[in-house]
């Protein structure tokens, strides 16, 4: 596609994947051509969903978790190995807060609209915590060893962002240099808009998702958000967001949201999540990254560093 063409129109190609609405915005001469250019991405996102979904019983993740359930070892492919390496980096860099084995804790909490009204039983939580912890498993690439039976892995905070990064690479390899990929809020661009203007991405007010809080300009790289607003519960007058602390097994008091801009969507996403897991140290942590961010902390203080 040549930059000098003026007969191109911006199309939004929409599809449903990974439990969310996905959109690819790109320039093409017809809606059919726009759609056909996105097929490679739609297929790749579906491939990753089939491989890493914890809801699909025939996914590779379910195969991993079947071994994790009883204890034992299995060999993983290179892509999974690289994802586990990435998860390990997140665990190390967050001092153990970002932990892909912590999904198990959700069994003690119900964040559905008509969720629980009491704290879970301490013994139940303690029993779950004994099976949580990246350092309880032995990751010796390509061999994954579960010494402790009853564990569970969840790539929830990683795979959708990874899919967005891959989508950008796949489109760029196909010569699509002016596209925006949005996988349920995990956003990557292959370059500025056709004509050179940056994309304008709206960051919504987490307490009022329909109203945009801020517009941010994006010409390269990625943007990802993490928040505990979407689902929260109130127990004895205290409000808890749905993000769980793997050290205590408890959610954090109050709700918060963070949006981070980075070169890679997967990095933006995990930094936003680590920041929220750092709770009262979220703003300090994000300041240290020296990346543009927007944080609404648990005290509803807004840190707007998007124009960094």
């Amino acid at each position: 596609m040549s930059d000098t063409r003026t007969d191109l129109t911006l199309f939004d190609v929409e599809f449903q994947a990974m439990g969310t609405r996905c959109t690819i915005s790109l320039y093409a001469d017809s809606s059919d051509n726009a759609r056909s250019q996105c097929e490679v991405v739609i297929a790749d996102v579906a491939r990753l969903e089939n491989k890493y979904s914890r809801y699909l019983s025939d996914s590779f993740l379910s195969e991993i978790n079947a071994v994790a359930e009883v204890g034992g070892a299995l060999t993983v492919d290179e892509e999974t190995a690289a994802l586990l390496d990435y998860a390990e980096s997140c665990f190390v860099e967050s001092d153990g807060l970002f932990d892909i084995t912590s999904g198990l804790l959700r069994r003690a909490w119900n964040f559905q609209p008509e969720g629980q009204t009491e704290l879970p039983d301490a013994d139940v939580l303690a029993a779950l915590l004994e099976r949580v912890g990246w350092d309880r498993l032995d990751w010796e690439s390509p061999l994954l060893i579960f010494d402790t039976p009853g564990m569970e892995l969840d790539f929830g905070g990683i795979v959708k962002e990874y899919a967005a990064d891959r989508a950008a690479t796949l489109l760029r390899e196909a010569g699509v240099d002016h596209a925006l990929i949005n996988l349920g809020g995990d956003i990557c661009v292959t370059g500025p808009q056709h004509g050179g203007d940056p994309w304008r991405v709206a960051i919504s007010d987490p307490s009022n998702p329909e109203s945009p809080l801020r517009l941010v300009a994006l010409s390269q790289g990625a943007l990802a958000s993490s928040g505990s607003y979407a689902r929260c519960i109130e127990i004895e007058g205290v409000k808890y967001g749905h993000l769980l602390n793997p050290r205590t097994g408890h959610p954090f008091i109050g709700t918060a949201a963070a949006t981070v801009l980075a070169d890679q969507c997967i990095v933006a996403g995990s930094l936003a999540t680590i920041a929220l897991l750092k709770n009262s140290e979220a703003s300090q942590f994000l300041e240290q990254m020296q990346l543009p961010f927007l944080l609404i902390d648990q005290n509803r203080v807004i840190f707007d560093r998007l124009d960094l």
Binding site: A81, Y86, E140, P142, T169, D263, V267, Q290
Partner: protein, 383 residues
Amino acid sequence: MHSKTLLALTSSALALPGVVAVSSAHADTPPAVSVLSYRASSYKEDDLDASALLAGSAERYDIKVHQLRYSAPVGEKYSFSLDSSYESMSGASPWYTVESVNGDAKVAMSGATIYEKRRDITASGRRYFDSGNLGISLTISDENDYRSNSMAVDGSFTLANNSTTISGGASYSDDELSPTDALLFNRIPSATKANSSAFVSVTQILNQFSILQSGISTARASGFLSDPYKLVDRRPEERNQFTWTTSWRRYFRAQTSALHANYRYYDDDFGVSSHTLDLSLHKTFRRSITLVPSLRYYQQDAANFFTPASDFLQASDFNSADFRLSSYGALSAGLKLNARVGKYTFVLSGERYKADASLGGSGASSPGIIDFTRLSAGIDFTF
């Protein structure tokens, strides 16, 4: 300067298939952290074989080295480092070599055990640019009979394709010798020598798994190049050296192991030429423990003026019985362990080196060639 966390996550992310660096944000930056390191090493030469000893002590050099290093980023575009080392050495060195009645060469060692101390300090600075960096370093080395001041500059530049890096550098040193007991043993009381060198190399990223590097360097030494402690030793006052090195790195499986293969060819106008082949395997366990077994093969031709027995008659203009100029070969095996625990990295390494005249190239061999064992332990603190 970005945080260590961002760098760690980005490098892990870039190892994922289909995740790429955003090119316009690819500037060369100083290291993100400060490092304080300490190493203690012991280098011990095996005693000289009794059958090769004519006189003196069979005990050869035993060197203990303490090294301290501090390096830190300075602002967003500079880094600074300071290296210092302290060496204490004891033992005897070959004094002269003679041919015994049955035709075998035998070594006479210096009578008494020599004790030496050496201190050196190097200060370096580096400036980082969008696509490269430029560094300068100054070194002062001092021992009771030797003093050396040197300076080096080097730089590297990455081409727009982001996969080719060109590096180059030059160095100069000015050395002063003042041998001990010069009057007593009729040694030269003082002398000077100078060394200059230059190198250029190209590093090419072949694909996500392998890197190839190749480079050449030349060096020129001039002045008093003989060994003042040998009874007889006279070498030319100029030595021109040429080196060609090639190394290849291959990463395996999510970058948890890597094979390093290095070849080095060396040639000088003393007539010495050598081949070195180095193989090492770097295996990382759980991102924090690295084990590096290594093997090295070395083969050298003798210098034109090397004589197995010291040339007391001074029949030729130049002569030396120094085993380092003889024909020999060597094999060495090493093992290194790095373990990272939080901000600390512990390092342990050992190397066993065995030289053999039968592995050598052309020219005569020496009875004085050495075997040695090197052990090292250290700790790095990152902050």
